[in-house]
Amino acid sequence: MANTRVEQAEQKPGLDRVLRDTWYVFWREMLLPLRDPFSLVFSLLQPLVFLGLFGPLLGSAVGAPAFGGQSTLQWFLPGVVVMIALFGTSMTGSNLQYELMTGSYERILATPLSRSSLMIGRALKEWAPLVVQGLLISVVCIPFGFVLHPLHVLFGLIILGIFGIGLGALSYSLALVSQNKEWIFWGVQQTLLFPLMILSGIMLPIEAGPEWMKVASLFNPLTYLVNAERELFAGAVGVDTLYGLLAAVVTAAVGLVVGIRAISRNTN
């Protein structure tokens, strides 16, 4: 009989294992929209509504100089894409909440799936529709003067995916921590979401704001992400892209560390 001490470290699953498990978790999550494709149609409409209704107001309210010489659409569209990513992946935990209330989360926890794959798979599911949404709204906007740079856009979406893994993992952790107190999840998620969004210049250019907002925006990882997306959607790759990628990687790393801790704390 093995007389292993309790303090002994757990065996870490290999990367191939994590990737394979992530695919399974992702695929299980994807079964929901695939079996119910109508939900996808609605999720495609939402960004179009935003572009169609908010875009024109923005152009006339703020005025062209704040957009750095770009067309309003060229400036605003990447912001909308980031916004969808933000809303989508920060909801990762809300789907988990339902599964926490029934026994299905526990059932999955009792399978050999690696712990990180549970979070990454779920976060990627929130990100996947974004690829379709992002490309679709880009194409729809072409007749209105938007210039599409497909490879740049694709790269931008990948950066958002990395960021989404981090945000998704944080959302996942939040759902675990607020177990049996579901309102806490929504309270925290909503309270953080809007300041982060506004202070990143997604909706309105931060340059138009007072000095303190500009300073605050520098501490917001989302700012770098939005700047990166704007650069990429404009067909350029430069310093902004690099910072954006960095912000995404840091967010992903922090999210996964916090998430793994939350999961193992749950077993204590």
Partner: protein, 322 residues
């Protein structure tokens, strides 16, 4: 199949340490069917959750299916099946999709997982519901689906946490029929928790009685009852014969107390006898010889509740959910 030594779990609730499981030693051999019996909060589920790696022990060791639960939890999980208290199927999913994904989680390929899922759904009478979403299933159907999910990868060791709580008697019997058939076919080792004593009594070969986080008895249900409770014997005699019979019964029941109630010229005696079924005929003969014949005799075999009462001074029913 399972070996634990001084397995302990403490929970900290607002700076108070609660000892949920207090250093239990459990050994389960391959092929056994073991029930953890005890009231709610006794530590049954906590023990089960440590054995299934869902909870990390505070101290002590546990080897499950040959692997240490702390050193290699993923390895343990790959070798066991676990059917928890809740419903395992995600509400919005189709039954068959959840089954196949469950197989994939355990490393089966899609073809094998699909074949296995169909086989299980058929044997659990769920084949017609394969494309139904889980939320549309009845309670009994969901519970059977939980069993199907737990059996997807044909585990050699299966844990069931309160498998039949909240089910009506017919569904319970039905569920057990399926579990017993799986066991007969595959020689699966089964460990379950229950607070239904009749379930532990009729289904398990071995009962581990847990109370306040400790094991207070561990044996076959028959042995526990014979050793700890004994049969309940009730005899009614005419009031005139009472003194004679009281003497006879007092000698028969060396231990335990003799109750008596008098009513309408009849005295009713009640006592526990560890070997009542064998002693009763002899007792009747002696009463007859002494000229104090019994007017009626009732012999009730003990239940596990009697065992629990004997061990703890409390009834299991008091602690059970309504």
């Amino acid at each position: 199949m399972i070996h634990t030594r001084k397995l302990t779990k403490n929970f900290t609730v607002k700076k108070d340490t609660v000892e949920a499981v207090k250093g239990v030693d459990i050994d389960v051999a391959p092929g056994e069917l073991v029930a953890f019996l005890g009231p709610n909060g006794a530590g049954k589920s906590t023990t089960l959750r440590m054995l299934t790696t869902l909870l990390r022990p505070t101290s002590g060791s546990a080897t499950v299916a040959g692997l240490d639960v702390v050193a290699d939890p993923a390895g343990v999980r790959a070798r066991i099946g676990y059917i928890g208290q809740g419903n395992g199927g995600g509400h919005s999913y189709r039954v068959i999709d959840e089954m196949i994904m469950q197989g994939r989680f355990y490393g089966m390929n899609t073809t094998d997982a699909t074949a296995r899922a169909k086989e299980l759904l058929t044997s659990l009478d769920l084949a017609d519901l394969a494309k139904r979403t889980v939320i549309k299933l009845s309670g009994g159907q969901r519970r059977r689906m939980d069993v199907a999910l737990g059996l997807m990868h044909s585990p050699r060791l299966l844990f069931l946490d309160e498998p039949s709580t909240g089910m009506d008697p017919q569904n319970r019997a039905n569920l057990w029929e399926h579990i017993m058939r799986m066991r007969a076919e595959h020689g699966t080792t089964i460990v379950l928790t229950t607070h239904y004593m009749d379930e532990a009594d009729s289904m398990s070969e071995r009962v581990i009685v847990i109370d306040h986080g400790a094991i207070i008895a561990d044996n076959t249900a028959a042995r526990l009852k014979a050793d700890l409770a004994g049969d309940l014997l009730a005899v009614e005699v005419a009031a005139a014969s009472a003194a004679e019979v009281r003497g006879l019964l007092a000698r028969a029941a060396a231990e335990g107390e003799l109750e008596e109630h008098a009513f309408d010229g009849v005295v009713r005696f009640r006592l526990r006898l560890s070997n009542g079924a064998r002693l009763a005929p002899e007792l009747l003969r002696r009463m007859h010889d002494a000229g104090a014949p019994a007017q009626s005799l009732e012999l009730k075999p003990p239940t596990l509740d009697d065992v629990f009462l004997e061990l703890t001074g409390r009834s299991l029913r008091e602690g059970a959910e309504v």
